[in-house]
Structure formats: structure tokens, C-alpha cells
Amino acid sequence: MSVNNLLENWAQFRHFHPVDDKPHDPYKWAMSIDLDACTGCNACSVACYAENNLPVVGKEKYQHGQSMHWMRIERYWDEDGREFPDQGAQFLPMMCQQCEAAPCETVCPVAATNHTADGLNSQIYNRCIGSRYCSANCPFKVRYFNWYDYPTTDNVWPAEMTQQLNPDVTVRGKGVMEKCTFCVQRLSAAKVTAKNEGRIVKDGEVQTACQQSCPTGAISFGNLVDPESRVHKQWQTQQVELDKDKQDKDEEDSGLRGYRILEELRAYPSVMYLERVRESAV
């Protein structure tokens, strides 16, 4: 505990927003979700429950808006006043966007949420005192608070169901904020394996639970700074850059599908979505 430590490392502690003199190296985890492939089946959401020990809150608490789905599937309708939704609906999987300049990180009074060197927005459960300022500041409202003590609540994890819990992931008690972590437990395990072999994690070696489960393969996840990774290639071909609030390609109609949500807020999300396509000929 030293003032020295504070002064020396302050910049590093707070400044993982990508800048030229400190680029992400060797990892920057990012995701790309193809909305034309997403069918809205909710497999990713259930897989996330299984992998990350998410509690099922039950009907009453769900009604109060206290659900815990880190990955939620939103469903939008076209808003052109037609009698029927003749061009179908639109599904959007929304989870923590792991923003590079996350509005949640700056406002936590106890520094329970920070940015990691590999570009994740970290949530440190045992530091969190539950002020919920991070959630207040999140533009996407993808942070979920433990409003009750789910491990001790009836019927959340009755006997035998506790055996399903993933030992790699903390089971959170009450008063703690949580959110999608890009399955950091899997990332850590993969990094350790790679490190033991003296290399970095290869593309496809580690998958998030949602990505692994998605039947259409709509979710791409990987290392954005690895030029061989699928996610890097997707961001590149879509001409979406991480540290911009307005992409160059948006100046004219490029016909490229990639975009990020609420980009103008300069949170620099690490998740790129590919626009759904609708056939004009029918």
C-alpha cells in the first residue's frame, strides 16, 4: 500500500482505452455477431446460464425486473405500421459489450470493475460493495445485480442441482454486481495452456459458452489483434475500428453490414454486429 504504487501505476490502472503508445498486446478479446444468422433461438442464453452459474429467479422476481440473464435476446419489430410483420422480426443478442472506455469502470467507488490487459471489462465480485453506480452508468443496461442471496434462496439451487455448478466460476451472494465476462474462466484456462507451451492462444482454441452453443454459428469470438483470427478479419472487412465513435465507412453508403450499438457515446464497445439482410425481391 503505497502512494508510490498509486502514482506509478495510475495510468496503467485506468487507461486501457487503446492508444498508439499502448496497444493491446498480445490479446484483445472481441466479438462479432451476425444478425442475419441469429435466429433468436436463445441457445446462447441458456448455455450462459449453465456455464456461469446464473440463478433462475422465478416468476415473481422476473416480473419485478430482477432477472439475471447475462445474455439476453431482444426481439424487435419493424416500425412501419403494417398490419403484419411481413418481413419477420429481428433478434439481437445483447450482453456486456466490454467497452474499451467503459462508462461503468470510472464510477465504481471501490474499483471493483476495471479493464484488463487483454481488453475485458472485469468485475471483481469480492471487492464490490453494491453501490450499483456501474449499472446506472451503463448505456446498455447489461449489468445484473444480485438482489437476493440466490445460493440460500429456496429452489434456486436445491440439492443435486448444486452439483451442476461450474467450479471455475464464483457463485455470487447478495449485493454483488455481475455481467458477461466473455467466459473469462475459459480464457484464463486457455491462456495458461498456451503459456505452458510457450505460445499465444490460437484462433478457435477457446470459445465462449454462447459461441460454442450457437446452432447457426452467428457468434464469432477471438483475439482482435491476431491478424489470423476470424474476428479480426470480420472487423477489418467491415471497416469497423475499435477506438472510433463514428466509422469512416459510414460517411457514404458502403453496403457493409458491421456496426456497433450506441457508438456515438464513445464507450468503444468490443462487440460488432452485422446487420440483418432482407431480400428486396419478394
Binding site: H64, T106, V107, S131, S135, G175
Partner: protein, 454 residues
């Protein structure tokens, strides 16, 4: 017209004020009991919430903050009353503050103590609140200095300690009077202890004046900064309806406003209960009312500035929030705020009402209600109508637990204040004496130097 009669004998001042410290009548105990009951309800609710989790407050995603933060800001706001009267008006040599600043200063201190409670009540893991303090730990972890909530913690702590100091220091000469006029008992022991051996010598008075002035000068920027920092909890966020640069002055104006309104309320009550008509006179009341009116207009202006700037900005999200406040589920509270905060104070512009006690009592309560609603309207609508439409309007009403704790806080404040009124002089005797023209330098027969020619 003079603020108070100039021919009140010093002895009478002592007598009148010390009379308020006599054993209380039955009504006092009834009110204490009620306050205690309400406070216990609050405590019960908090215990329930502590054991079960914040969910019992009916908070949810996205409505993660509710009445706790709103009431917290309200109490911080109320705390500016004392600072305004004690410090600011002191620097302006507005002598009319002298009979009334003591209880205002007490109100400040107790408001801050109540506000501090809400910080605890509001966080999800109350038993680990000390993580927000920079205490030595083996992990070398500091709290996050970028966070406005942390600035809050620092600022309020500083403000509270300074206010307590200010209140205490300002009371020392009065405590000496109390000490000198009390029979043996716990009171005499208490006053003896607290008056720190004050004898009223020249030297002591000189030191006293300098100290008092210094703390006053120190307290004013502190008060402004505290509420500005509380405002920056919102101003520093990019949420629509919050990201407004005029929030710091707006909050400070609102704080002064609710503080003044509370002063009027307590003025009327104390004046009646302790029969302080000689000291808490109508001219002083009138001046307070006019000050309140002025601040009300300033607040109204800043409010209008906020709306106007939202209106002419291109910030669609903020506009949506404003329209939502005006027309959505919260409309009743928003318009209530406008009515109580901007329309009701117009009554105070009329001379007829400026000294009409019943009207003023009602008006002052309404003004404070308006200010409480204002805090709620700043906190809640942004959550239920933020940037992300999928999460809009999701069951945003507080549960009985939240109301229980909010009312409990009023019970707590009342309890503290009532105890204060019976243990400490709620009118500053030595300052009133300064206001009174001292006709006779002779001491009356019954008075001796020991008894109190202070």
C-alpha cells in the same frame, strides 16, 4: 423596524432560552415516542433488507437507484440551511440570522448524519462499506478516485466533521451560560465538560471570533463543493437527463432552497413551542421568507435553464427523458415538483403572507415536498427511460421497504433534533445579546458576575 426589540435584558435572554431546557411537557414525550416509532419502522425495514437483499426494495434492472439516493440528496440539501445562515450570512454581517442560526446549524449536522445513513442503506453489501475508505490493506488496493461516489464519501465526511465542529465551537459561550445557570446534575456535568472552561475573557473572545470566522470561511466553499460533488454523481454520468453541466449550481440552489424552507418550518415550530417570539421575531421571519423567495426564483431559473438546454440541444435521448418526466408515469411527481417548487413560493412574494404563520407553515412544508420530489425526479426517470429502449419502464415504483426507510429517516432526524432542543440552547444567547442594546451597565441585585453578566 428592528429585527428584535433592543431593550431585552441579558438576563431575560438567558432565562428565556434556558427555560427551553427545562423538563419537557407531555407533548414532547409523545412526539419523541412517535419519532422513535417511525424510526424503528425504518430500522426494521433496513434489517429486513440487510438480511434478504436489496430486492425487497423493489429495485431492479434498470431501476437500480430509488428513494435511497433521492432522499440522500434531499438530506444533504437540507444540510445547507445551517451553512447558509451560519456561515454565509455571517460573512455578510446579516445580524438577523443570529437568533435562528443555532437550530439551523443543528439541522445541518443532523441532516448530514441522516444522509450518511442512506449511503449505508443504499449499498448492496453494507458490511463492506469500508472498502470505500483508503485504509491500509495488504493488497495495496485504493478506492477509485475517479468515482463521484467516492468524492461524495470524502466530501460528506469532511463536511460533517466541519459542521459538527462549527456547531460545537459556536455553542461554547452558550454552553458556559448553561453551565453557570444549572443546578447540580447530569446537565451541569455535561455543560461543564463541553464548555471547555470558557470564562468569557477578552482573550478567549478574540480567539473565539477568529476561530469562528475561519471555520465559517472554510465551511462555505465546502458546502458548495459538497453539493456540487453530489451533483456530479449525475453530471459526470452520460445518462440522458443527468449529463447536464448546470447540475452543480442547480443542486446547490436546490439545497439552499430546501434548507431555507426547513428553517421556516422549524422557526415556526420552535417559536411556538418555546415561546421564542421575542427572538424569532416576525421581521426575522419576513427576512427569511424573502430570502427563500429569492432562492426559489433562482432555483426556478436554473430548472428552466436545464429544460431549455435540453430542448434546444440535439440530444434526442435527453429530450425523451424530459418528455417522459412531464407525461409519463412519473408525471404526477414531476408536476408536483413544479407546483410546489415554483408556483407555491410565489405566495411568499406577497407581504400579506410573509408573516402569516399558518400559511408559512404549510408553504414551507410544500416547498420541501417539492424539493424531495425534485430529487426523486432527477434519479428515477432516467433509469426507466434511458438510452436503451428494451429496458424501459420496468416496474419502477419503490416498495414499502423503501418508504419505510425514508420515513424512518425523518423519524431519526426528528429524534435527534428534539433531543438537541432539550439538551442544548436552540437560540444563540450570546449572539442575541449582541443584537440587544445594553441600556444599563449596572448589574441588577440578583445578578452577580458568576451568575452571568455575559
Amino acid at each position: 423596524m428592528k429585527d428584535i426589540r433592543e431593550d431585552i435584558a441579558w438576563v431575560k435572554i438567558n432565562q428565556d432560552v434556558l427555560k427551553s431546557l427545562e423538563n419537557p411537557r407531555k407533548l414532547y414525550w409523545i412526539i419523541i415516542f412517535c419519532a422513535l416509532a417511525v424510526f424503528s419502522v425504518g430500522v426494521g425495514c433496513e434489517v429486513y433488507q440487510y438480511r434478504n437483499g436489496m430486492g425487497v426494495a423493489n429495485l431492479n434492472n434498470p431501476n437500480v437507484w430509488g428513494l435511497y439516493i433521492a432522499t440522500f440528496i434531499f438530506w444533504i440539501g437540507m444540510s445547507h440551511s445551517g451553512t447558509l445562515l451560519s456561515a454565509i450570512l455571517h460573512l455578510m454581517h446579516a445580524d438577523w440570522r443570529k437568533p435562528i442560526y443555532r437550530f439551523a446549524e443543528a439541522m445541518t449536522t443532523f441532516s448530514l448524519m441522516t444522509a450518511g445513513l442512506f449511503v449505508m442503506v443504499h449499498i448492496g453489501r453494507l458490511w463492506q462499506f469500508y472498502y470505500s475508505l483508503p485504509y491500509p490493506n495488504e493488497r495495496g488496493v485504493w478506492p477509485n478516485f475517479q468515482s463521484p461516489l467516492l468524492w461524495d464519501a470524502m466530501a460528506i465526511f469532511t463536511y460533517l466533521s466541519s459542521s459538527v465542529l462549527f456547531l460545537f465551537v459556536g455553542m461554547i459561550p452558550d454552553l458556559a451560560i448553561c453551565r453557570d445557570n444549572m443546578k447540580e446534575g447530569w446537565r451541569k456535568k455535561l455543560y461543564t465538560l463541553l464548555s471547555l472552561g470558557w470564562e468569557g475573557t477578552d482573550r478567549q473572545w478574540r480567539n473565539f471570533r477568529v476561530t469562528y470566522l475561519t471555520i465559517a470561511c472554510f465551511l462555505i466553499p465546502l458546502a458548495v463543493s459538497v453539493h456540487s460533488i453530489v451533483a456530479s454523481d449525475f453530471g459526470m454520468s452520460q445518462q440522458p437527463g443527468w449529463h447536464v453541466t448546470s447540475f452543480p449550481p442547480y443542486f446547490v440552489a436546490g439545497a439552499l432552497y430546501s434548507g431555507c424552507a426547513a428553517i421556516i418550518t422549524l422557526f415556526i415550530i420552535l417559536r411556538y413551542v418555546f415561546k421564542f417570539e421575542e427572538y424569532m421575531t416576525l421581521p426575522i421571519l419576513k427576512k427569511t421568507v424573502r430570502l427563500t423567495f429569492a432562492i426559489a426564483m433562482v432555483w426556478t431559473y436554473l430548472n428552466a435553464v436545464e429544460f431549455a438546454s435540453v430542448w434546444y440541444s440535439h440530444d434526442g435521448a435527453s429530450k425523451d427523458v424530459l418528455i417522459q418526466k412531464m407525461t409519463g408515469p412519473f408525471a404526477f411527481a414531476w408536476w408536483g415538483m413544479v407546483f410546489c417548487g415554483s408556483v407555491v413560493p410565489l405566495v411568499l412574494a406577497f407581504k400579506r403572507f410573509q408573516t402569516n404563520i399558518p400559511v408559512l407553515l404549510v408553504v414551507s412544508l410544500l416547498l420541501n415536498l417539492g424539493m424531495w420530489l425534485e430529487r426523486w425526479m432527477i434519479v428515477a426517470p432516467t433509469f426507466s427511460h434511458g438510452y436503451y429502449p428494451w429496458t424501459w419502464d420496468h416496474d419502477q415504483w419503490p416498495s414499502m421497504i423503501q418508504w419505510g426507510i425514508v420515513f424512518g429517516s425523518f423519524g431519526w432526524f426528528t429524534l435527534l433534533f428534539m433531543v438537541f432542543c432539550k439538551v442544548f440552547p436552540s437560540v444563540s444567547m450570546y449572539e442575541v445579546k449582541e443584537m440587544v442594546y445594553h441600556r444599563s451597565l449596572h448589574l441588577k441585585k440578583s445578578e452577580t458576575a458568576e451568575q452571568g453578566a455575559h
